[in-house]
Symmetry: C2
Subunit: 229 residues, 2 copies
């Protein structure tokens, strides 16, 4: 969505080699982020706003004793690093290798002042994330393990599904640990729940990283969403 905006910004204003993980500046403001590498940490100066171009990036918080909560997985087209001030409020890490487009935040905010359609896109991106987060509240606060996992796989499946087909096969980019930290479960519970879904005939697991949704409809029913209003 904003990948093209980056080009609007003169690249000679973009400082190079400013990455905590020493990812080289590529001169097209698109960086390749290695598996596990971070775009930024909580408390860092918010120098850039990012758009995922390829791969997946996770944002998360950690409590003092190590408990971790993944807030969100960002997929291609998603913006991250949006903050109300000039500081990041979460940590990030790349799930597998990913490519992100970086846009200097101050510059972008400046441009937003001149071009209303850019400001509107930023607002739309932020509010779309707000809406997405609401479903996740319901999941975390009110769903049981089976509903959580079914919801997760269902949502991920929808991303890869072809129109009309009731089955999907896709590769899970994230580990059980990351899934658990996203769903508020332990890795053991995630694993057990997935086998349960497999035994129930809702999915197949040719290998731990590959999910075959046998019936999207059924999985959605197991997700417990029904027609909430």
């Amino acid at each position: 969505m904003f990948a093209e905006t980056a080009d609007y910004i003169k690249t000679d204003n973009v400082p190079g080699a400013s990455w905590r993980n020493s990812t080289p500046y590529t001169s097209r403001s698109v960086q390749t982020i290695e598996h596990g590498a971070s775009l930024f940490f909580q408390g860092d100066d918010a120098e850039y706003v990012f758009e995922v171009v390829e791969g997946v990036v996770a944002s998360y918080s950690v409590l003092a004793d190590g408990r971790r909560q993944v807030h969100c997985f960002f997929f291609p087209g998603d913006m991250l690093g949006l903050t109300p001030d000039a500081v990041y409020h979460a940590n990030t890490c790349s799930i597998g290798k990913s490519r992100v487009c970086s846009i200097p935040r101050a510059k972008l905010m400046q441009i937003a002042k001149e071009r209303p359609e850019i400001a509107a896109k930023l607002f739309e991106s932020a509010t779309a994330q707000l809406v997405g987060m609401q479903d996740h509240f319901v999941l975390l606060g009110r769903k049981c393990a089976q509903e959580k996992v079914a919801s997760f796989l269902s949502a991920l499946g929808a991303r890869y599904a072809t129109e009309g087909a009731d089955t999907v096969t896709f590769r899970l980019p994230m580990t059980r640990s990351e899934i658990g930290d996203y769903l508020g479960l332990t890795i053991e519970t995630v694993s057990r729940t997935m086998t349960k879904l497999r035994i129930a005939g809702a999915i197949n697991l040719p290998n731990p990283a590959t999910v075959e949704v046998l019936s999207r409809r059924r999985l959605e029913r197991l997700a417990g969403d029904g027609a909430g209003y």
Copy 2:
């Protein structure tokens, strides 16, 4: 924050009597919302953006079987009804009597195009909500009952606290049921946990609706946040 913006909008453009709960249009675009009344429901056309002027408003989702999750409590100064499209994505209800300022959404978006500082405020409001929601993810996904309740009371206490004082007394505007639906707990667990906090000497409960935080510092420690990074 936006209360003044409402005045920028010519009031003769604001349709009256458009409220689902038949709240009368007051000609100053500030409505009084009765206890339990709703500003809007999920799926409604997003005619207005609101700013809470007084009282508290909750937004929530409901699953088909009645399980409810409160996403957020909106206090004076908070905006609600921000959406990426023209539809509301959550339900709302007033906690006790409240007063809200309503701003026609289309009009506001139009104004945002002409006045960058308004667009910036909208963006800031949306992203500030994003940041606030992240802490709530941690609470819902990774905290135990005691930490949840302590976090909640601590946050609420901070809102009423006076600079430097380690104690606060305030009135809980919401019921145990609403607190439970916000924290992902049952009313019984909320009640039990509050008693535990009382016995532990962290708070006092002169009556069910009044909380006296005896030590904000201690309550914060019980909230489990420590120095997450």
